[in-house]
Symmetry: C2
Subunit: 450 residues, 2 copies
Amino acid sequence: MPRKIVIIGAHAAGVDASSAARKTDRTAEITLITKEKYTGYSRCGLPFVIGGHISKFKDLIVFPPSFYRMMKLQLKTETTATNINPTDKIVDTTDKAGNTETIHYDSLILTTGAYSFIPPINGRDKQGVYSLRTIEDGQQIDQAIRNGARSAVVIGAGLIGLETAVALKERGLNTTVVEMLPYVLPVMLDKEMANIVHEMLEQKGLKIIIGKGVDEILGTERATAVSVAGEQIPADIVVVATGVRANTGIATKTGIATGETKAIKTNSRMETNISSIYAAGDCAESINIVTQKPHCPQLGTVAVRHGKVAGINAAGGYAQFTGVLGSAVSQLFETQIGVTGLTEFFAKRGGIETVTGTITSKTRADYYPGAKPIKVKLVVEKESQRLIGGQIIGGEEATQRINALSFAIQKQMTVRELAKVDTAYAPPLCETWEPMVLAAEMVLMRLRKT
Amino acid sequence: MPRKIVIIGAHAAGVDASSAARKTDRTAEITLITKEKYTGYSRCGLPFVIGGHISKFKDLIVFPPSFYRMMKLQLKTETTATNINPTDKIVDTTDKAGNTETIHYDSLILTTGAYSFIPPINGRDKQGVYSLRTIEDGQQIDQAIRNGARSAVVIGAGLIGLETAVALKERGLNTTVVEMLPYVLPVMLDKEMANIVHEMLEQKGLKIIIGKGVDEILGTERATAVSVAGEQIPADIVVVATGVRANTGIATKTGIATGETKAIKTNSRMETNISSIYAAGDCAESINIVTQKPHCPQLGTVAVRHGKVAGINAAGGYAQFTGVLGSAVSQLFETQIGVTGLTEFFAKRGGIETVTGTITSKTRADYYPGAKPIKVKLVVEKESQRLIGGQIIGGEEATQRINALSFAIQKQMTVRELAKVDTAYAPPLCETWEPMVLAAEMVLMRLRKT
């Protein structure tokens, strides 16, 4: 009898799990169950549709119906998994018409994702208040702009918040970002690096308020303004981007353990504490490669890597997940921003003694037109002199510099090794002395003085 | 008495050596001696001035006279070091007026560079035959174009040859490249990768002849054509770019040993076999990090790294050079090309059993405009499953991908580790599954089959 694999969820983690499972077991019966109407699309692309860089929301659907046919996957959309019975290995489902079905599984993969966390702000139920997690969210924001919205407030200056604020500004709205923490991108960057992004965003015309919370969303039925520390900021649109939380409802109900990040606990094969049940993606916890502690960065790259490992194992193969560094990049207007590993702030909070080095350089030979300034900050664990984190703002090729630093962290490169690394160079593409190497030199100088 | 440091040569290696020496010993007397009129300029930038991307040759001078003043360096231009006496620790020099001087040294650094090797082709002494190593070479070629040259032949399809050919084409000349070896960029790329570059260059209008040598440069006083296997190719300009050879004349005369690459042998502190004499840059041999054998890639990045180590040691500090991988990148028209470590060809020639993997992917999310195709080839040592080489053609961020692979090789990353690596992602900047990771997957698939 063919192996029955059931996957709850059908986005990055779920679809990659189904694909890996199919490649591992050609005859398995693989079923994906999702509440959503649209599946297998890129949530990360949503702000860029709003900003007008991508023409329509449906372009974000990376896996069209033909994919499921080709891979012989059963896809049940607008269907809710209501109950899991791990003893009998069954999942109960209800579709949008109310029809129920009981599906047997040999392996079950939970890729239930995460939901936008909306803090208990007065007025959050008013019309015109959105989050940005689904195509439907995006379509509603887009429609509000088409209907004549002139102003927007984004609550939260994390990646999604800032990407959305940039998009709203690009559409011509007077846009304000309100962040309760003392600087923007507080999970990604250290304060002095974040301040550079802050300034750049203000120069581009965004209003940024930090260190203050939103007291209330004002308006009668519809949001018209947001009240922040006594100030009223006009807001035809309010986007709440204060982070996401793992969807663990059905897991908890089934007795599946969650960890200290409140996401589902997994081992290195993405197995939960219940036999034959795996978890992957935004709903699942990982181990941070540097701290060796639970970490749940909820990134697309982690979701697909999780999904692949869960899919292979669920289909009878063998694969291990090796942990996360939280490597992430973004582009805000023309500025690239990236991070990998620990920031100085989070390293210190984790009790790690650090030495850091920051330099400003440029991305091409001095004489070559088009060079852009680039700022690199390295975080080094003092005792071992190993690189444990990197932040980059500006320039070109930030993504692959972040990847290079990520490789270095994963292979326990010391800052001394990084300062001597063999790099490539050509006048139109980069500088003779690579900025990452110069930043390593800066760390070495400070290490000598300590 | 202050330490006397003499440096013969004043380009990448020499200038970086002087700068590192100054930072190590604030009171040393540091003298740079060079035959050339212009010092401290970027040879790598020459083709881009010819191509019109940089407005004038003097823009390439990275270290202006103010640098030498600020760093308190004595600079003797158009001065030849005629003799070294290592027993008395003196260098004899002659300037362009014929004045001689004897300079004492405590430490001597040879950064004598390399010269363009011109093979014994009939007619090579004709007017209109150039190499491209110095500003003067570049000015002559530029002048020939201004004087109405309509056609060009570049002999040699290495990096300099192709960069020069692209520049000549950009200036409107009918340009042909003749390469004796069976494919372009034979030191950088494997054949099947080189063929992609070959096709791209032809599509851009260059004529490329491979596997054939130049029989003769035709013309009376001036070159007018080049004869290749019976065919006459019009050539108002002939650029010979058949590689460079280390300048070792004065070293050999002094009893300084050269190695199997014909460049000066050095230890990890860049010391030659003669006490207190160091060598750095294109004239000096290194150890290849993968093969642990002598290697002389003659690249600007190696020169500055050499120079820094030599300068620190010559000034009484302590620094080690950790070897080379030959990481190199270029941009030909819009196509980025990069390499690090060993190609499959050179690995095999060195007796290394390899497994390779090549993929074609793209540089951004499918739905994001502006994605470019990218081809990645990885070379893995079969027994250890360690990455030993990488080649990239096309796309964006090729340089930093090469750096990431270089980091991986230097830290002995296995292909299995590379396939699981934590990478960064954002729709405008890259794909969820990084092409380097997909190429690693390809290697793993082939490893399973072997």
